[in-house]
Every structure is written in C-alpha cells, then in structure tokens.
Symmetry: C2
Subunit: 388 residues, 2 copies
C-alpha cells in the first residue's frame, strides 16, 4: 500500500546550489554569492535534452510536486503544481527531467532578504537588492549549467512564471526549445501596479515592519502582509468563482450588525491572510511585487514587443483563461500578436474556465488536455530522435 | 462679475434638522434623537410637487452643489454633484426643489460615530448603531415630512445612493413619483463584500484605531483609512481609465529599484489615501461599507427581486456604464429585468463610458443627455399640470 496517489512523484528532497561567482544585477549592484534551492523530478536523458524548467509565480517556490514528508502525503498536501507534474501527468516525469527552483530573493531556502548578509552578519532585510526577472533568469541559467543542460526542452511558467519564460526566450534564445507562457502578460497594467502598491503600503506601514528590519525585533508585519494577501486573493479569483464559492452566504442565519467575519467570504479572506502571514516573508513579498512592476522587456526595444520577441528561436504555447481579470486573455493576445508579427511559431489557447487567474493551478480538463498534448509532442519528438 | 460659473447654484448654506422622536433601527436598537444636516437648491412650488431628493454614495454628503464660501468658488471646488445640479443643468434648479442630506452615521454634520453619545458624554465611536439603508430612508422620510413634501418628483442616487432610491420605491411607494438608479446594484456580490472587508481590516487593525475609540486618544487610524481608500479608488476606476490616466508612466526617467512612489499611479493612490484619511471619519467608513454589505431588499421576499419591487408605484430610470466593474451593467440589468417582470415602467440606458464606476459623477455627454431628458419630462409634466 504505497502512501502516494497515482501520478505522484512521491517523496522528494530539495537540493542546494551555491553560486560563488559574483552576480551582476539589473539594479547595478553585485551579489558576491548566493544559495539557490531546487528540486528535480524524473531523469535527465543521455544527451540532456529532456529538461523542463518550472518558473514559479509570486508566492511559489521550488516545491512544485510530490511530498517532502510522509506527513504531507497523509495530509494530501503536495507541491504547488502537483496537478501538472508527475508520472503520466501533463509534464510527464516518465519522459521529462523536471526542475523547479526558489528564485533569488525568495523565502523558501534561496538567498533572500531574510538571509544573513555576510558583510554585516545580520539579515539583509531592506538592504537586499531589488532583483529583476532578468536576474532570476541569469541565476536559472547558472543552475542550468550546473545540471549539465545546454538547452531546455521547455521552460514553463504561469503568471509571474510566464514572464520568466518570456525573458528566457529573449535572453537565451539558444537554450530554450519551447516556451510555455500561461496566464501571463508582457508587462503590468496601471491597475496591476496599483494593487501591488496597496499591498506594499499595507506591509511597509505596518508598525511591526520597522523599515524592513523586523527580524531583529522578533516580530513580523503580519497585519500588513495579511492585508496584502487578502487583496491578492481577490484578484486571483474571478467574480463568478467568488459568487459560486461564497455568494452572500452568512455564517449565522441572520445579520449580526457588527464587524465580525459574518459573510463566508470574509472568513475565507481572513483565514488566507492569517495563514499566509505566518509562512511568507514580508520583504520577499515586497520584492516579488516590484519584480512584477518592473517587468517590461519591450522597454529595451522602443516598446516594440514584436521586435523584442524577434530574438526568440523557440516555439511558443500561450494559454489564457476567460475569467482571469488579473492577466486577462487580452494580455496573452498581446504576446501572441507580437509573436505572430515576429514570425514565430505560436500555439494559443484561450480556456473557458470560471476560476479566474487561479485556473492555471487547477484541474481544468481542457486546459490540461491542450497543455499535455503540447508537452507530449515535445517528448514524442525527443524520443523519436533517440530511436532513429 | 459674478464669482460663480454659469449653471452654478452659487453660495449655499447647510441647514440642520433635529429629529427628537426616537428612531427604531433595523438592527433592533433605538436612537433617541439625531441631527441631520442638509442643503436645498431651487424653490419648492406651491403644491410641493417639484422636490428631488439626492441620496449620496459611500463618501458623499449633503453638499452636492454650489459653494459654501467664496474661497471654494475661487478654487473651483463645488459640491460633489455640481455637474448635474444647477440652473439649466440635468437636475434643473430653475424647475426643481433639490434636497441633499448627509445620512445618519455620516461625518459631515449629521449624527454619527464621531458625535457625542448623550448617555456617556463621549463620542459614540464603535458603540454607534450599525444602520441600514432602510434606516436612512426612514430618516429621509422624516426630513420629507419636515419640508412639507408629500411625494418626491424624483428620488435620485448613484452607487450606494441608488440603493436608497430602490429602498424608497419599496418602503414608501406612494411618496416617490420617479426613481433614478445610477451605477448601482440590487445587492453586493461576494467580490464587492471582499473589497469592503479588506478596507475594514485595514482600518480596524491599524494600531491607532483603538477599537474605534481613537477620538479619545487624539489620533486617527490614518494608515488604515488611507489603505481603504486606495483599494476603493482602484474599484472606482476602470482598467482602461487607469491605463489612459497613468499607464506605466514613471515620475523619473528610469527605474529607481526602491519602494518610493515611482510610477505615477502609485503617487496618485498615495495622495488619494492621505487626503481622504484627513477628511473622513474611519468609523463612518466602516459603517458605510457594512450598510452596503447588508443591503439586499429581496432578502425579505424569498430572494425574489421582482416580487420585492412589485410594491413600487413609481416610474424608473436605470443607468449603467459599460466599464464599471464595481457595479457592472449586468447588475443594473438584474434590476431592470426584475422591474419588467413586475410590470413596472422602466427606462434603461447603458452608457458607453471609459471611466468605470466614477462615470456617474462625471461629465459624460450621452449620460447627461439621457438623464436630463428624463428629468425634463418630469418637469414638463409638472408644469403642464400647473398651467392647465
């Protein structure tokens, strides 16, 4: 009686890559060294051609599939993208060697604001450099070298993860065979930035923030971080999904005429805020939102996205979800239009899904069918090449 | 050289109505007395048939048109709906007697949480009863009696104001000839409640909130109230309007790699938050959001909106705006469909407007044309009756 469900990669163990050569960052600062935590699922083939890199979104990390402990398995709490990654799944670990990492600046084991700054012996806190998507891709390229991979069969990501995929296709055209960009955008809109700014103000104006030096005070800005997460959650769900999930349902039978968590949706949001603020680092959250704000690859090419993407050499799969209002289908179509203008090979699927932005993490049959078919064609071609 | 622009009602003076008979509230509590501040523009005709009542939205008040001082006029800062109210304007003060008040629980002169509780000699603060739209309408009916008006020619309101209009048509069918419901909804959605809850948590968890007793501590929860307003502002503007107004424009020429107000939209939001938190009472803000959450007139009629509105005897004008995502056209169509099912006389206009929810306050020619034509027909009919 195996403790893991069918299609699970089972128990997995994070690994650590120490990068000792200095890393020159987009902001102009240099990081002398950093640690990057990552996981792998499946086996790298002989010519190292079946690698798939998973890029995570705002609150993601390296633990994308399987379980760290038997306890997690018993609780049914696998990695964040276990829906898509595993033997026989969309990203089939029987065929692909899958790599997921925690990005630089994260709070799950990679060097970030909560890490000790070797120069001061104290946590970096607010002095940690503000990184950019291109810095992450630079780090990911170091990891790629370390793993002995010359070219990824696919680089894959949803939301902020999709932005890393775009950056890979532009900065390392020779090292990506396929780019899978899901529920993403070529840059944030003013509204996107506005929501991020609310989140940042909530965190930075929490009295427990202490200018970002809260580690030294033995507190965390949990109220601010909780508020940030609440705002985030509203943007991850569609209006419809919230209606289906909560509607106007009350926890009691009548109005209480007070400010308790009286509607189910209030209770849900408070819970999301509270649990998140216990498990995520506020400085990392600030950093991730700024990474999002700054991402705008066409800025270096006179704001011409087609010219920007003309550097890419890979094939593209772009997927969007009808009710996603954080990064709507229109934003994905901007990417698709630019790719077509640049003469690239692009497949686009707009998936009818009620759940909004969160859809990219969920078990939507049509989404997984389109995504899986694309990945299987990649695997088929790789295996055919080996057989011949 | 008159100091007022053409179409202005000029200088106006607020008046006070003291209500000394106890007011039984929806929450079950009774308010022994209250003060209500209001303004009037234009002249009540001989049979008191040309009255128009203006119901305000979340952060509104009694000062809907004209100026309180010459200084306000010089600064070009008239009442909040001066676009629509004045001689020759949509709500023509040459023809109508227009009344605007600050609702019970407000913070602009009417009795509210910042007022002194006669029983304790201290500000009510969190002990002020949570009122409901039906309580506001009850108070408005007292004001109507005081003014010697039996029936309003029209009751008019946008957003939360439109909810009061609906409540008037249900609770006092004989006292409303026309109901004008703009950019409103028959009840909040889960998403609407969720945004309100974020605002409330921001205020209530601000250390300066002191459980609502901040008056006694000589502070205000300005951070929380500012955050609440920032979230609100995002929902008042459309994604498109934000794009047109700010896009991704920076205040400097390059990225600063910090957390300052670097994008124009950040600077705008911060300013909105700061100025609002200096001029609005946090307890009133909490109250107003709860009034919104609780509004659901069909709750008393088995959730059947058509049956609810079947009590109404007035004609209806319902207006929505295409890019309003706070109360989308779909929400207005729910009202219109219910009115049609109930066999009521209803005119519906969905106005193509880029500005989102805020459109109801703005100078949109087609909106004002539709609205004005409706109001003029009311005035024409009244005047024809008098002439005959």
């Amino acid at each position: 009686m195996p403790p893991f469900p069918v299609g699970s990669v089972g128990l997995v163990e994070p690994r650590l890559l120490r990068i000792d050569t200095p890393l020159m960052l987009a902001c102009g600062r240099t990081l002398p060294s950093c640690d990057i935590v990552y996981e792998t699922y499946g086996t790298l083939n002989a010519d190292a051609s079946n690698g798939v890199l998973i890029c995570h979104a705002l609150s993601g990390h390296h633990h994308a599939a399987g379980y760290h402990t038997l306890e997690e398995a018993e609780k049914g709490k696998p990695g964040w993208w276990d829906t898509a990654i595993g033997p026989g799944k969309v990203i089939d670990t029987n065929r692909f060697f899958v790599v997921a990492l925690n990005n630089l600046g994260g709070c799950h084991g990679s060097t970030g604001p909560a890490s000790v700054n070797p120069e001061t012996g104290k946590p970096w806190g607010p002095d940690f450099p503000i990184v950019a998507v291109r810095d992450w891709v630079k780090v990911q390229a170091r990891l790629t070298d370390h793993l002995g991979i010359q070219q990824w069969a696919a680089v894959v990501g949803g939301s902020l993860g999709g932005m890393q995929v775009l950056r890979w296709s532009i900065d390392h055209p020779g090292r990506v065979a396929n780019a899978v960009v899901i529920a993403s955008a070529p840059k944030l809109s003013a509204q996107n930035i506005a929501f991020n700014e609310v989140a940042r103000q909530a965190i930075r104006r929490d009295p427990n923030f202490h200018g970002g030096h809260y580690y030294e005070h033995g507190v965390v800005p949990e109220v601010g971080l909780g508020l940030a997460r609440m705002v985030g959650h509203i943007t991850y769900l569609s209006d419809d999904a919230m209606h289906q999930k909560f509607g106007r349902d009350l926890r009691a039978t009548t109005y209480q005429y007070g400010y308790g968590a009286e509607f189910q949706v209030e209770s849900y949001l408070r819970y999301q805020g509270e649990t998140f603020s216990r498990r995520f680092d506020a400085n990392t959250y600030l950093l991730m939102t700024r990474v999002l704000d700054y991402f705008d690859p066409a800025r270096d090419f006179d704001h011409d996205l087609a010219r920007t993407l003309s550097r890419a050499l890979c094939r593209f799969l772009v997927i969007s979800f009808t009710t996603d209002w954080r990064f709507s289908p229109e934003r994905s179509r901007e990417i698709v239009d630019a790719l077509m203008d640049a003469g690239k090979d692009v497949t686009y699927a707009e998936i009818d899904a009620p759940q909004g932005h969160d859809s990219f993490l969920l078990d939507n049959p049509r989404y997984l069918a389109v995504f899986g078919a694309y990945m299987n064609r990649i695997a088929d071609a790789l295996e055919a090449r080996h057989a011949s």
